[in-house]
């Protein structure tokens, strides 16, 4: 099973090297990969239908409980077959749709990687593994949406999609961590047995809401739905594969997978019913105001996802059954409609439904596929769409809560979806062929066979529902924790309320189709409400966030060195000062201190005088000289307190620095007082407090006992091991010889830098600037 998941990734990597092979006429061969996988999963239908659950486990990071656990049950099997089956058709279709495209190999690489990620997602039995594959689908989706990367709108849509689904991924991770905290495991199967404990936990609601966040972003539920219409910038095969049939159903899969673990509580059911209900109705209404075929299909997809969420929320066995059937129904007809749209776009170069009609005269097979799909989407017998719709109505009707509102919502949605399906699947193929499309050519068979195949399947499953009843539907319901033994799919359910509702739906929907024609006017009506759309609101929040971070960055990273220093010092003063107040004892053992002599006091006074002269003098030369005095005084302190080596070093270095300073600085302009009185006082206070804190800190440390172990080790071994009597020198050149070597190299680098700066000749441009500014200054002085 791991091999099956990895196949997609391996193929994707291989394409980097042998991509050229798949670019030309042989590109259709790429579809062998998903076909092989489809056949591989196909052989599991019989054992799974018998109630088997196939698991495989590979150790990954056992210490964290993160393993590559995979589980194939009814639910994963249904999704795996959809992923590989539709994948196969899309791969084949692409070879014709993007024939001769410069980056066809790249496209296949992304598609294959996505397929691998998606398979991994639906087969994972470990939440961390699930999260990894979840993110991989988002990333491969990002590449596919932005495939036309020369188009700015395409890039923007890709970013939006990645942003929204990426946030969802993080929520999923958070939920996984929380559930792990409650149960102590990441394994989904193990969580199943701890369902009671999870529901009883105080963090149950949080875990559920985080999981919802992940599912709603991925499956484009209101108010996160807007990335999906944007994602339609991708080439049509991508829209077919990712954004209608597979990836957007990942959220649905997640909800289904966790229904037996987390479901059944009020917060679970009501949230799903409300969000799903709003989504299905909201986006179904949106389809009325679109003229772009892909836009219509995008909103009807969101609406269908809303129905699925709504059904999962109902939580009854009937609802699960309806959801399972509807997933198949939707995958079949929506993929068909997308493929048909792709063909229309490819041949006529327009997707504007107002300009399309009568194309059946040119591409009859495509027209048949479109009309079949539209009928299935409308739920007209004898398609499987009819069964799906009946089951949905039944599940809603038999639910225990708010039946009337739910019923109205679902019937309205279905009516509008029927309209959308008709517009997308029937409108382009009926009526009179417009002049502009007279010369349109018919598509090749590789293009029209996939949609015809899918549409026919929808018809076959409708006439003979027993084909999928035992093989696919029952195992799904079992996996969701329902009892599947009573399930029986059939076209004819008897003449009852549900059937009447079906008739009403079809009647009203068809009437609607003939009354309302898609037009620019309707698009304009919808555009008026753009201001309050979730997309716009989120964009505003986004903009505000960017502005805030700009402000924040500019406030702290303002380019003024002294502000950086001030903030750092201020922070230090506040933190350290806060700790010190109350913790400082001021206990000084006067007996342990060294005695003060006259020459020490003199040195100290010279030092203080030197420091303050350095700070307050108005002459730069005097400042430098005073600084030299400070250095030499410190040198004297080293002499007094048994550090002859330090004294020697300090003496020579101090002298050198002063000489260098004087040599360099005579050229600089006058020593200006650049800051005003107020700034100087403020800085003075800040630095005084800082100095005070350092003093107190030093005194505090001095009152603590000291450990001299390291020093004693060096002293004891200095002569015995290293044969040197000056311990400081021995440490530097022997014990820590490597450090000294590095220090020497640092100094050499500095020396090279100094030499370079001194000798480097000015470039022409700089020389000109130099001349200019000198001239300006002279003018000013005059």
């Amino acid at each position: 099973m791991l091999t099956a998941i990895l196949t997609g990734f391996i193929f994707s990597i291989l394409l980097v090297f042998v991509g050229k092979f798949f670019k030309g006429k042989l590109s259709i061969l790429a579809s062998v990969v998903p076909l092989g996988l489809f056949l591989y999963f196909f052989q599991f239908i019989a054992p799974i239908a018998d109630g088997e659950v196939i698991t495989r486990s590979f150790q990954w990071i056992p210490s964290f409980g993160v393993d590559l656990d995979f589980k194939l049950d009814g639910l994963s099997l249904l999704f795996s077959l959809m992923i590989t089956g539709i994948g196969f058709l899309v791969f084949a279709y692409t070879s014709s749709y993007l024939k001769g495209h410069e980056y066809l190999d790249r496209f296949y690489g992304y598609l294959a990687a996505f397929m691998g990620a998606m398979l991994g997602l639906v087969l994972s039995d470990n939440m961390i593994t699930l999260f990894v594959f979840w993110e991989l689908t988002s990333i491969s989706s990002f590449f596919l949406i932005g495939f036309n990367n020369t188009n700015p709108a395409s890039r923007k849509s890709a970013m939006t999609a990645l942003g929204i689904t990426g946030i969802g991924g993080l929520l999923l991770l958070a939920s996984a961590l929380l559930l792990n905290n409650i149960t102590g495991t990441y394994s989904i199967s193990e969580m199943l047995s701890m369902s009671e404990a999870i529901r009883g936990n105080e963090f149950y609601a949080v875990a559920v809401l985080l999981l919802f966040g992940a599912a709603f972003t991925k499956s484009a539920q209101f108010p996160f739905h807007f990335w999906l219409p944007g994602a339609m910038k991708a080439p049509t095969p991508v829209s077919t594969y990712l954004h209608s049939a597979t990836m957007v159903k990942a959220g649905i899969y997640l909800l289904m997978r966790f229904t037996p673990i987390l479901g059944g509580e009020n917060i679970w059911n009501y949230t799903l019913i409300i969000v799903g209900g709003i989504t299905m109705l909201y986006s179904a209404i949106h389809t009325l105001f679109r003229t772009d075929l892909k836009g219509i299909l995008a909103y009807s997809t969101i609406s269908a996802l809303g129905i699925l969420v709504f059904l999962i929320g109902l939580g009854t066995e009937e609802a699960f059954l309806a959801a399972a059937v509807f997933i198949i129904v939707h995958a079949l007809y929506k993929a068909t409609l997308f493929l048909v749209t792709g063909i229309i776009d490819h041949q006529t170069h327009t997707r504007d439904v107002t300009r399309l009609a009568g194309l059946n005269k040119i591409m009859l097979p495509v027209g048949i596929a479109g009309i079949l799909a539209a009928i299935s989407s409308a739920g007209i017998p004898p398609t499987i769409g009819f069964i799906g719709k009946e089951l949905t109505y039944e599940a809603t009707y038999h639910s225990e809560t708010i039946i009337i509102i739910s019923m109205i919502a679902i019937v309205l949605t279905k009516i509008l979806l029927l309209y959308a399906g008709f517009v997308a699947g029937i409108k382009p193929f009926t009526g009179k062929l417009p002049e502009e499309h007279k010369n349109v050519k018919a598509p090749g068979p590789i293009m029209w066979i996939p949609p015809v195949l899918l549409a026919t399947l929808g018809l076959i499953f409708g006439i003979a529902p027993f084909l999928i009843e035992g093989a696919l539907i029952k195992p799904v319901v079992t996996a969701l924790g329902g009892d599947a033994s009573e399930i029986h799919l059939a076209l004819w359910h008897g003449f009852n309320l549900i059937f009447i509702l079906s008739l009403i739906t079809i009647g009203v929907g068809t009437t609607l189709y003939f009354i309302i024609k898609p037009s620019e006017k309707l698009v304009a009506v919808a555009a008026r409400y753009n201001k309050i759309s979730p997309e716009n609101i989120l964009n505003l929040i986004n903009k505000g966030f960017v502005q805030f971070s700009n402000f924040w960055t500019n406030f702290f990273q303002n380019g003024y060195l002294r502000n950086y220093i001030s903030i750092i010092i201020l922070f230090l003063v506040v933190i350290v000062g806060y700790i010190m107040i109350g913790n400082t004892r001021f206990v000084i053992d006067y007996n342990s201190l060294s005695k003060i002599t006259v020459y020490e006091i003199t040195t100290t006074l010279i030092l203080i005088a030197g420091i303050f002269y350095t700070v307050f003098t108005e002459s730069r030369l005097a400042a430098v000289a005073a600084m030299g005095v400070v250095g030499l005084s410190i040198c004297l302190i080293f002499v007094f307190y048994s550090a002859p080596d330090l004294a020697m070093t300090q003496f020579s270095i101090d002298t050198l620095t002063v000489i260098l300073f004087v040599l360099v600085l005579y050229k600089l302009p006058k020593y200006l007082k650049l800051s005003d009185y107020k700034t100087r006082v403020r800085d003075g206070v800040l630095s005084s407090v800082f100095g005070l804190i350092i003093t107190v800190l030093a005194l505090e440390v001095l009152s603590e006992p000291v450990s001299k172990q390291v020093g004693e080790f060096y002293a004891a071994n200095s002569y015995v091991e290293a044969h040197g009597k000056n311990v400081v020198n021995v440490i530097l050149v022997d014990f820590r010889g490597a450090d000294t070597l590095i220090e020497v190299s640092v100094l050499s680098i500095a020396a090279v830098g100094v030499f370079g700066l001194m000798k480097l000749r000015l470039k022409m441009r700089d020389r000109k600037r130099y001349a200019d500014t000198t001239l300006k200054q002279e003018n000013k002085e005059q």
Binding site: Y560, I569, T740, V746
Partner: protein
Amino acid sequence: MEILLALMVGILYGTGIYMMLRRSMVKLIIGIILLGNGANLLIFLLGRITKGAPPIIPGDSKVFVEAFADPVPQALILTAIVISFGLQSFAIVLVKRAHTVVRTDDLDEMNATDEDS
């Protein structure tokens, strides 16, 4: 004397920071030097000061027989002094160079990376 030295360290730190907060680049370098001196003195002080007992083993013995000053802080400070010289000399030359190019000692006039500012 320790108290006096702790006071010295405080003054060096305070004035060092004060100088670093000025707009002139020369003052910035002076501030860094003062701060460096303060840090050296702080390490020296916290390693405990000892009078008249340098960490040099007397001529005829192999190990110390009497009390001696801790050699570890001294080794650290020696390294620090030398390294800070590297930094200072580079900074000083850099100031000169910057001045030749942009004709100012004022840091506020140098805070843009663009050449035309």
